[in-house]
C-alpha cells in the first residue's frame, strides 16, 4: 500500500498508484454475466489522462466543481480520477435521485461540468429543472447511441485532449469532494470533504481491513456513497487491488459474480445483508432433516473455534459449500450506511463469514468505529479506528449520551451553511445526534438518535423536515413531519418511521377526501421517503416569533401521547 501520510491530495496518491502497479488489474466490468472490460492500472491511466486534458481545455481549474452522476462502472472512476488530476472538486451525486432533485443539487453546488451517462442525461435534459442550473457550462455524456441527439452534451468518448494533461497539486486542507449526505426537499447537506479527510480515513480503515494486489472488491453500493468511494475506489487503488463492477444489479448476477471473480470484499447495506440471510436460511430449511442437523452441528463447532477471532481457513473447510457459493476467497462483508441487527451479524459469523460492522457518517469521513473481530461482537459497532477520538456528551445515569467525534476525517463543513456547520461542529467536535455509550471493553454501543431523522435499512438518511414540502398546501390548519423515535425515544436503532402530524381547522373532520389526498401525495415521494403513519393532534402547534414551528417543544407535547394508539395508518 502507498504510504498515504506523505501525500497531499487524492489526485497525487492516485497518480502514484497508477505508476506503482502498471500491470496489475484495477477494474473489471461485467454486464449480465458477460465480462465487458478488464483494465490494468496502465490501461486506466491511458483512458483517464486524455479526459483530464480535455477537462483542462474546457476551462476546469482548481476549485471548480465537477459532478459525476453515473451507475457503478469504470467510467465513474476514470472520470473522478481526471477531476482530481485537474485539482477540481468532485461532486458525486446519486443516480437514483429524480431528475429534478439532481438539478437542485447541481445548482446548489455550482457545478461547472457534469459527467453522466446518456440514459441519465435524457431524463435530466427533459426535466424543467434544467433551466435553473445556469452554472453548468459543459455536459459529458457517455454511452450515447451513434445517431442520438445529445441535447447540448458532448460525447464522453470523444472528449479527449491530445497532449498530456498538467497535474495540478492540491493542499491537504483543500476541498476534494462535496458529498450530499441528504436533503433535496429542504436544506441540502453538502459535506465538504478535504483531501486530508480521505487520506486519513483510508489509512485508518486499511490498518484493520487491508487491501493488496490481487484483492477483488465487488462494488455494489453506489460509488457516490461515502463507503463505496472509500472501499470501492480510493482504498483498493492505493493498494494495487481490483474493483469489480456489475452494470446490472439483479440478484442472480450478483450471486454469480462472487464465484466467477473470487471476490475478497464486498460492501452492502443492512437491507441487502438481511436479504442474503433470508436466502441462505431458506436454502438451509429446504435441506433434508439429517443434513440440517449436520449443518447446525458444524455451525456450532465453527462458532466455538472462532470465538476469539476469525479463522477463515478453518471455516472454509468446515463449511465448504457455503464458502464456495461466495467464491471461496471472501475475507469479509463490510456493512454500513445504517444500523445492522446483531442476529444478522451473528448468522454470518457462525458461517465463518466475518461481517465488518461499524459506525460512521458522511460528515466524519465514512467510518469512525469498526469491529476488529478480536473477538467478534454482534452487539456493538466496534472500537474507534486509529486517529478517532470519540466522546459521549451529557451522559445520563446509564452512561448514554450524544456521540461526538474529533479527528482529521471530520468534514470542513456544510456547503453554504455556516450556521448549520457551527451547530454541528463545536470546538472541533462533530456532534452526531446519535446516542451511545462505551462498554467496559471499549466498544461503542448505539441507543437511538437525538435528531429528527431516520436512516433506512438501505442507508438513506431522511430528515423529517425535508419531507414536508410534499404536503405543502394540504387543507389542514397546520402539519409537521417527525421521526417517531424522536417523539418517543426508544433506545434502539431499529423500527424507525416517519409520521405526519396534522392539526385540523376548528370544526374540520378528518374526511376520506383528506385521507386520500395524503395518501396520493405520500405515494409520489420516493419509496424510502414516505411517511408511515399519521397522528391527529388537537392543539395549536407552538410557534416562534417568526411563526416557525417549535419542533422540539411540539415533539415533547406529542411524546405525552401513547405511541401505538396515536399512530393511524396512511
Amino acid at each position: 500500500m502507498l504510504d498515504l501520510r506523505k501525500y497531499h491530495s487524492i489526485g497525487e496518491a492516485l497518480r502514484d498508484a497508477l505508476e506503482t502497479w502498471p500491470t496489475e488489474i484495477c477494474l473489471i466490468e461485467s454486464d449480465r454475466g458477460e465480462e465487458k472490460l478488464r483494465l490494468t492500472y496502465d490501461n486506466f491511466k491511458n483512458r483517464a489522462q486524455p479526459l483530464a486534458k480535455a477537462l483542462q481545455e474546457l476551462g476546469i481549474v482548481p476549485g471548480d466543481r465537477v459532478s459525476v452522476i453515473m451507475t457503478n462502472q469504470s467510467k465513474w472512476l476514470i472520470s473522478a480520477y481526471a477531476v482530481f488530476f485537474c485539482g477540481a472538486t468532485l461532486v458525486p451525486l446519486d443516480f437514483k435521485l429524480k431528475a429534478e432533485e439532481q438539478w437542485q443539487l447541481l445548482k446548489h453546488c455550482g457545478a461547472k461540468t457534469l459527467i453522466t451517462e446518456y440514459g441519465i442525461w435524457r431524463q435530466l435534459a427533459a426535466s424543467p429543472g434544467r433551466a435553473s442550473a445556469r452554472n453548468l457550462q459543459a455536459i459529458l455524456a457517455t454511452e450515447a447511441p451513434e445517431n442520438a441527439d445529445l441535447d447540448g452534451a458532448l460525447r464522453w468518448e470523444q472528449t479527449r485532449g491530445a497532449l498530456p494533461p498538467v497535474f495540478t497539486p492540491q493542499k491537504r486542507h483543500d476541498v476534494a469532494s462535496i458529498v450530499y449526505s441528504s436533503g433535496t426537499g429542504g436544506t441540502p447537506k453538502g459535506c465538504m470533504m478535504t483531501h486530508e479527510n480521505y487520506l486519513e480515513q483510508c489509512t485508518a480503515l486499511t490498518s484493520l481491513y487491508p487491501f493488496w494486489p490481487g484483492v477483488r472488491y465487488l462494488s455494489i453500493l453506489p460509488t457516490n456513497h461515502a463507503i463505496d468511494f472509500m472501499v470501492g475506489f480510493f482504498g483498493p487503488f492505493t493498494c494495487g487491488a481490483a474493483v469489480v463492477h456489475l452494470r446490472t444489479l439483479r440478484p442472480e448476477y450478483v450471486r454469480e459474480a462472487f464465484s466467477k471473480y473470487k471476490i475478497t470484499y464486498v460492501s452492502v447495506v443492512p437491507l441487502v445483508l438481511k436479504n442474503l440471510q433470508k436466502g441462505l436460511q431458506a436454502r438451509f430449511d429446504e435441506l433434508p432433516q439429517s443434513k440440517r442437523k449436520a449443518l447446525a452441528a458444524v455451525r456450532k463447532i465453527n462458532r466455538m473455534l472462532t470465538r476469539d477471532r476469525p479463522r477463515l481457513w478453518l471455516s472454509r473447510k468446515l463449511l465448504k459449500q457455503v464458502h464456495s457459493a461466495f467464491g471461496g476467497k471472501l475475507e469479509a462483508i463490510i456493512v454500513g450506511g445504517a444500523f445492522t441487527e446483531p442476529q444478522t451479524l451473528q448468522f454470518f459469523y457462525d458461517l465463518g463469514i466475518p461481517v465488518a460492522n461499524g459506525y460512521g457518517l458522511t460528515e466524519a469521513g465514512t467510518a469512525v468505529t469498526v469491529n476488529d473481530l478480536k473477538p467478534f461482537r454482534a452487539d456493538t459497532v466496534g472500537k474507534p479506528l486509529p486517529g478517532m477520538e470519540i466522546g459521549i456528551r451529557n451522559q445520563d445515569a446509564d452512561g448514554i449520551g450524544e456521540v461526538t467525534i474529533r479527528s482529521k476525517t471530520v468534514m470542513s463543513g456544510y456547503l453554504h451553511e455556516p450556521g448549520l456547520t457551527a451547530e454541528t461542529i463545536v470546538d472541533g467536535w462533530l456532534h452526531t445526534g446519535d446516542m451511545g455509550r462505551f462498554d467496559s471493553s471499549g466498544h461503542l454501543q448505539l441507543f437511538g438518535r437525538k435528531k429528527n431523522m431516520i436512516v433506512t435499512e438501505e442507508g438513506k438518511n431522511v430528515y423529517a423536515e425535508d419531507i414536508e414540502q410534499a404536503f405543502d398546501g394540504l387543507k389542514v390548519k397546520e402539519f409537521c413531519v417527525f421521526a417517531a423515535n424522536y417523539i418517543w425515544p426508544q433506545r434502539t436503532m431499529v423500527n424507525e418511521k416517519l409520521l405526519l402530524v396534522i392539526h385540523l381547522e376548528p370544526g374540520q373532520v378528518f374526511s376520506d377526501e383528506l385521507a386520500a389526498e395524503i395518501s396520493v401525495r405520500n405515494s409520489r415521494l420516493t419509496n424510502y421517503k414516505r411517511v408511515h403513519g399519521l397522528v391527529l393532534y388537537h392543539e395549536d402547534f407552538p410557534l416562534t416569533a417568526s411563526l416557525k414551528i417549535k419542533r422540539g417543544e411540539l415533539a415533547q407535547h406529542l411524546g405525552k401521547l401513547d405511541r401505538e394508539p396515536s399512530i393511524l395508518p396512511i
Partner: protein, 80 residues
C-alpha cells in the same frame, strides 16, 4: 406486437404469481412496493422475471424511481 393493455395485464399476473397475492387484486395504478409489501431487492427480482418473460433487457436507470405497474408497463412496452 402486444398492446400496452396486454403488457400491463401480463405484468400484473406475473407479479401476483411471484408474490402470491390473488390474481385480480392488483391494478395498473398500484404502487407495487406498497401493494405487494416488497423492498427494493424484491423489486429487482421481479424485474428479472419480467425481463425473462418479455425477453428484453431493462437498464437499471430506466426503472429508477418507478413505483407503479402502469409506468413499468410503459417502460417495458418501449423496449418490446
Amino acid at each position: 406486437m402486444r398492446t400496452i393493455e396486454q403488457t400491463t395485464q401480463e405484468i400484473l399476473e406475473l407479479a401476483a404469481k411471484q408474490f402470491k397475492v390473488p390474481a385480480g387484486s392488483l391494478a395498473p395504478g398500484d404502487d407495487f412496493y406498497k401493494k405487494l409489501g416488497i423492498d427494493s431487492l424484491q423489486a429487482l427480482e421481479m424485474l428479472s422475471r419480467l425481463e425473462n418473460h418479455f425477453k428484453i433487457e431493462l437498464p437499471d436507470y430506466e426503472v429508477q424511481g418507478v413505483n407503479d405497474f402502469k409506468t413499468l408497463a410503459e417502460r417495458i412496452q418501449a423496449r418490446l
